[in-house]
Symmetry: C2
């Protein structure tokens, strides 16, 4: 039962298995071919009373688990967004588990807290972000690792809400939050990810959905008009969520336009760059950040495009105090003598516990080096453009939005129903896996370059799968 | 740069390192002996441009990281609560990383969703929980893995809030949530973990802190009086958080007393059993769950006492629909043909992404078997009683609360200041690490059996460290 020597064998077995799996992943169907309930027949109803051997458990990985895995690492997986992964990231996670160092306060894990601070500073410099985001003495702002961009956005919204309540209480100490809460407005666009709507529900903040332009971009004049109207109506504009690289079509909201309006009206400007943020390590993508100096908080998720495993999303804020005060509680059990001199990251999050997540990012940055991570970003974009070019030569299809990174949005010329049918045919073939989305009035299909192992041949294979399915579909209809 | 063959070497190196680390962890000082900022001098200011070799990175684990690690795995670590860990759990996490299977919907990871459902059913049966918590067709309730008990509690509170808003809207479709939100009341006790206060702040729900009795227990008459008074005042009792095993002193609120009151007043009863919950796998602890049939939601955190690494906390609910509807959004990009027949776990959480966390629990349950996990619980309790008995024979100390599991609360007879000084002396010695807490009017010290490697000799060592420090302190004062 799990002695060191058994683990020495099992751990090394597992390393070999992982390598085999990753190298042959492309030979498995990207989308699992099982139906709901498949697993119950393969597993007993009760946990074993006695320990089982590693050999028995190992066999079950292929027998029980793998048939039901959707292979996000497969070069034929082109759905959603990439799920970051790499060998160095696995190494970091093993060390994280080994230390089991829970870093909710500095004293509970000094290395856990400080490596996070430093590695995030590395990214600030790599992306040429404002220096206010550095985790440094004297800097009012800073960065933290979060589990997801959904959490980062929620924390920003909560911080904005609590900041506004504090401010209003300074003017009127008798004020009850419930007197003003109904007046708070969060502005999102019709392209903002649904998790921001969720955040508004959780925080009980009204949200106003603003229309985007023909390029799916939130324009300054639309935001300004909405804020001014709400102010005229006695409401309190609280929070704007802009997106750099929307989920649906990878549109980039113009920070240079939105920023000054938020500044003028003292509204918290949060920027969600979950997927596309990693691209800012390449100078040619950096212009999308123009106007970032106006931003109150910024989120990018290295667990998408930076070869780091989920869950590693970053939240940078201009004012640490706004996050830390948002839901500050300081029980005696957690106090320590250094708390004025450093960061206690538990104030930046909902959970108490905190993992040593920075290890995996540190390993990735060091074992790849900046140059190989830049190469990865460029390669993903290049492959997406290759797909776009193949499709552009076929008059049956329309490319919907500009291809900037790894996403190509397209439609078969025809009805939404035809496009849904095409999606279904493609995915049922088992060759590749793509998804569709509602892009304003249109249903469009999304082709995403996901796995780091994707090569030109996989792009051509995917194109053949899609255009072949389209051919069959159109033939059937005639 | 991170090829398969480099990873084969590095991964196996890391396995050996982990075994060495775990086996020698007790020889390191449990509490890191560094001061804030220690790490900056050891790491460059910028990420490397070019890749670095595994050999260079490996050296930095001891040079850079380990001096700043607080060793939660050390048998001399007696602070907070245990951070679960084990070899099988590491194996599960490696496989989780390898598959990188993001299970936000069933289709995105059928095995990820279904193994979670099944392994949680194993626990329902191991703990003899109500069958309504089974993840089964026809069962209205179910279970899910969450990152922390803080999240589980927050989700329960949010579900209770949204359920009440829905109900009130059924009576009056014009109702605005802001008309009723100020009337909602969440009841917690003066012993409830601070994360529940945080949850109330986040959800904008008023909380009422109820006094506990001399055993730090929330009694039914206190709850009933508070609910009735609030109802008389036109408020809406919404949510009660009971605790089985409080953080401060491991008190168990009586579900049989609180449950019928919540039922009578139709208030959501959430139970937080984060640490102590694992003990319910042993029949002799099961009586603390008497009354569990009244519970609306229940949380235990296997990442404390069940040998599983953070982050793995479980939330069971009597009504899946209440959680799923709490912040339901269903974008086209995530729809799939099977969504009526199974669980899409993204509706149970704030993040979109979802890790394959069930693997580590599955590995742990199988490689230990139920009997060894029960043995672990009993062993931790036995060691705590050994410490209590040593202390009980020394008239300078008082044991504060009954020792039920791995926690012993005690005081040096004297002032709060003397106890804080004792804590300081003990921790500065570097031999062991303990913490203190505010238990109502008193400051008390907490001794916790944490690491799975803790043995009788470590208990005697800890006792000597504490009583030696007390001796010096009292001598100095005379």
């Amino acid at each position: 039962m799990a002695t060191s020597e058994e683990f020495r064998i099992a751990g090394k077995d597992m390393i070999d298995y992982v390598i085999d799996y990753i190298n042959t992943c492309g030979e498995r169907p990207p989308l699992a071919k099982v139906t709901p309930g498949y697993l119950q027949d393969l597993i007993p109803l009760e946990a074993p009373e006695k320990p089982e051997s590693w050999d028995d458990i190992k066999k079950d990985i292929e027998r029980v688990i793998m048939p039901g895995v959707t292979h996000w690492n497969s070069p034929h997986f082109h759905a959603f967004f990439p799920a970051g992964s790499s060998y160095p990231s696995i190494l970091g996670d093993i060390l994280m588990d080994a230390t089991t160092n829970i870093g909710f306060s500095w004293i509970a894990g000094p290395a856990c807290t400080e490596l996070e601070m430093i590695v995030l500073n590395w990214l600030v410099r790599m992306m040429k972000l404002p220096h206010v985001f550095l985790n440094e003495k004297g800097s009012p702002g800073g960065g933290s690792m979060q589990g997801s961009s959904s959490e980062s956005t929620l924390y920003s919204l909560l911080a904005a809400k609590m900041r506004m309540i504090r401010r209003l209480k300074e003017l009127n100490s008798d004020l009850d939050q419930f007197d003003v809460l109904p007046k708070f407005i969060a502005y999102i666009s019709d392209q903002t990810l649904f998790c921001v709507e969720k955040a508004c529900m959780i925080a009980s903040v009204r949200r106003r959905i603003l229309p985007t332009d023909e390029n799916f971009i939130l324009r300054g004049n639309v935001l300004r008009a909405a804020i001014e109207k709400d102010k005229d109506d006695g409401m309190i504009p609280l929070f704007v969520c802009a997106t750099l690289g929307t989920t649906h079509s990878l549109a980039f909201d113009p920070l240079e336009e939105l920023g000054p309006i938020c500044l003028e009206h003292d509204v918290w400007l949060h920027v969600d760059a979950a997927y596309a943020g990693t691209a800012f390590i390449c100078p040619e993508y950096r212009h999308f950040l123009n106007g970032v100096e106006y931003v109150t908080s910024l989120n990018i998720s290295p667990h998408k495009l930076m070869r780091v495993h989920i869950d590693l999303s970053i939240l940078w804020v201009k004012s640490r105090a706004d996050i830390e005060k948002a839901f500050f509680v300081d029980p005696a059990i957690m106090r320590h003598e250094h708390q004025e001199d450093t960061i206690d990251y538990r104030h930046w999050q909902i959970p108490v516990g905190r993992k040593f997540r920075s290890l995996k990012l540190w390993f990735v940055l060091r074992m790849f080096g900046q140059e190989n991570l830049q190469r990865h970003v460029r390669n993903q974009a290049q492959l997406a453009k290759e797909f776009r070019d193949l499709m552009a030569s076929d008059p049956r299809f329309t490319i919907i939005a500009e291809v900037v990174l790894g996403l190509v949005c397209f439609r078969l010329k025809g009805s939404d129903e035809q496009n849904k049918e095409l999606l279904d045919c493609v995915n049922k073939s088992g060759d590749i896996f793509i998804t569709g989305t509602q892009l304003k009035e249109q249903y469009v299909l999304r082709f995403v370059v996901c796995a780091a192992s994707t090569e030109s041949k996989h792009i051509r294979f995917a194109w053949k799968a899609i255009e072949g399915a389209a051919g069959k579909l159109l033939q059937k209809e005639h």
